[in-house]
Amino acid sequence: MKTVKLSLLAGLLAAGAMPAFAQDLALGLKSEATSMDPQFHQLSTNIQVHKNIFETLTTQDAVQKVGPGLASEWEAVDDTTWRFKLREGVKFHDGTDFTARDVIYSFCRVPHVENSPSPFTIYTATVTDITAEDDHTVIFKTENTNPLFPAEIWSIAIVSADSLGAEDEVVFGPQGACEGMGDIPQAPAFNDPAIAVGTGPYKLDTYTRGSELVLTRFDDYWGGTPDWERVVMRPITSDGPRVAALLAGDVDMIESPPIQDIARLEAADFKIVDALSNRIIYLALRQEEGAPSIEGTDGKNPMMDVRVRKAISLAINRDAIAERIMGGYAQPAGELLPPPMFGSSGRPVDSYDPDAAKELLTEAGYPNGFTMTLGTPNDRYINDEQVAQAVAQMLARIGIQINVDASTASQFFSRRNALEFPIYMAGWGAASGEMSSPLKSLVATFDAQTGMGPTNAGRYANPEMDKVLLQAMSTIDDTERDRLLQEAGTMVLDDYGIIPLHFEQTVWAMKSGLDYEPRVDQYTMASEVKPAN
């Protein structure tokens, strides 16, 4: 009797737990969006969710090639002027038409977003004027020549001027001095679907913080009827439970399954897709005198010597790291962006040659090597601490004794920015999808005034390279810019200013009935998940 009751209960519960409709898509994400305001926090977790609801003038496809979005075409009128032709017949979720006024309002709102932890103003600050030629043509003027403008405005979501209470005429003024903005709703207001109105394929339904985010299909979407009636996104932060949720059928697709579980998922008939990401894992070397935590060199910084830097690069067996530690889900890197992305030169990966490395060290005057501390996060990149440990062992073979100092990401980044490490491992994802992104942030000479080299905590400085890079960053012509970026990248790598290790591969696991084109920017975009057939 007891067993009958038990199995009856179990049956009932199982029925309750089943996913309801075939037209539903449930995603298990590793982190949760912090706000529904697409202009609040510049964070990949937020962006990948917002892109289902809000659209942008331009788009970036799975390999970050810039394409038309809400703007059907655009042209550079002169070095600082862009004309964008807006798509006609686009409707917002509330049925109103999308016009130039919404574009001006959206760009105007960015500096007015309060309490933003990481504002989008870094993309709008250099816009000096926006005017509407007519309802579907917008002219942008920028302070300097900025060839990346179409790629960068992929970050500025277009919100609805009507739903946010703008006046009938919105006039642009630089740095947020716009007119006709009305009372600007702040980030918390966007939990309300009546405020979070976009033009995207899905509408916001409910957002229960910590629990789930539900989107529903927008039937009047200009790009055709979206595939799913309803999309549910659940934050499942720990790896094990996220895999379990997929195995148990709670969700249809998860991002970043741990590498060690992939074989098991494949055996259980789940589909795995993976792609090279734009994220480079690199070693940065402190190239200034007075670097801390170096011993056995009489107070000198050996990494000022290019031979020592080259020795470090040659001592690392990148194939072994990719194969054994990353389980094959990484590709050894020869430069800062995977070829054939924009600005990459196809430079071959440095070969593994510990003997040559040892000779270089002897030549440089360190036959017995030296000792230093390697900083690394232990919860930020795939298997980060293990990779750092492997690098330490490989360097020990040529006589450089490394103490690995691994800490949680929040600690690591603070200490890294305080220049506490003579050598550190970190990663960089190129948001714009071209070489100028890593070059500008990681190796351009640090300058607080001009904003160059913000993440260059190795303080590498190469004025020649800076010149070529600056020239590239103000060249609109794609062929010429590509050439200049390749040149700048080669200058840094010939100088061993930074040591690329590998590109991470991003992995998604899903039910066999689904299909997803993996993105290099590592975003999980519900609107791009398709039923396979």
Binding site: L13, A17, A187, T208, R209, G210, I236, A244, A448, P454
Partner: protein
Amino acid sequence: MIVYLVRRFGQSLLAVVAMAVLVFMGVYAIGNPVDVLISPEASQADIAAATARLGLDKPLWQQFGIFVINAFQGDLGTSFVYGRPALDIILERLPATFELAMVALFLSVGIGVPLGVWAGMRPESIAGRTIMAGSILGFSLPNFWQGMLLILVFAVLLGWLPAGGRGQTTEFLGMQVSFLTLDGLSHLILPAINLALFKMSLLIRLTRANTREVCLQDYVKFARAKGLSGRRVVLVHILKNIMIPVVTIIGLELGSMLAFAIVTETVFAWPGMGKLLIDSINLLDRPVIVAYLMLTVLIIVMINFMVDVIYSFLDPRIRLSEMKG
């Protein structure tokens, strides 16, 4: 009685003040939030602007001063990550944790105490030994691993229950609860068991030890000799006398379940306060961390205060001795 309560209350207040200082200093020591929050593409000027906006450019004593002044007005700061009052964000998560903790408490008391009494009355029987062996398992298996195993068996292999999340909720007494719907209940069972197992084992062992001790007391023997029914002996003479340590433990454990159901909430993706704390620590969302810890300190201090009050009802000696002092 009043003196006793006033003195206990004063002690509680002192604990809260000491914790405020400790928590604030501790959180201040772990990393700079701006380094974590801001986009890596941001320039030095952007970083400086963000630092000033979050009030992090002020010296520590000023930040603490502002925190204390605001705290007295019921404002525990604005979350860096969500841009909303930290207390609101935490209170939004409180019902989920509260429900989970209550169900777990109900399970552990409802199962743990009777089993403990049983094992204490018949320590040498097979049932008694089995209960004890089981409690050792419940004790020694790590919480995280237990949770994963529950998911593996009931969600992945058998497919009876969902692997995580909270499921459907309905409004009950102004709170969103999930135990009133089948879907919600099915989401609640595994995490509640996971959270309850350890406490249950603790209660079994505690109750058993006390029962064995009390069973040998003269008044129990006398009650039996008087010919009272076994039921009355257990319920009145034994149970009432083992309640003091049990109530203490229940109080402490309720506090810890509310404040630190973190492991269970993480494993089962349960949208409670514990998971919020972990997320906030990862993002160095200082106001939320501080507000969370202050709130849990308050909860635990309050529960202990109530336990002290209940004591004085259960044991007249406490009441009487404190009256004199």
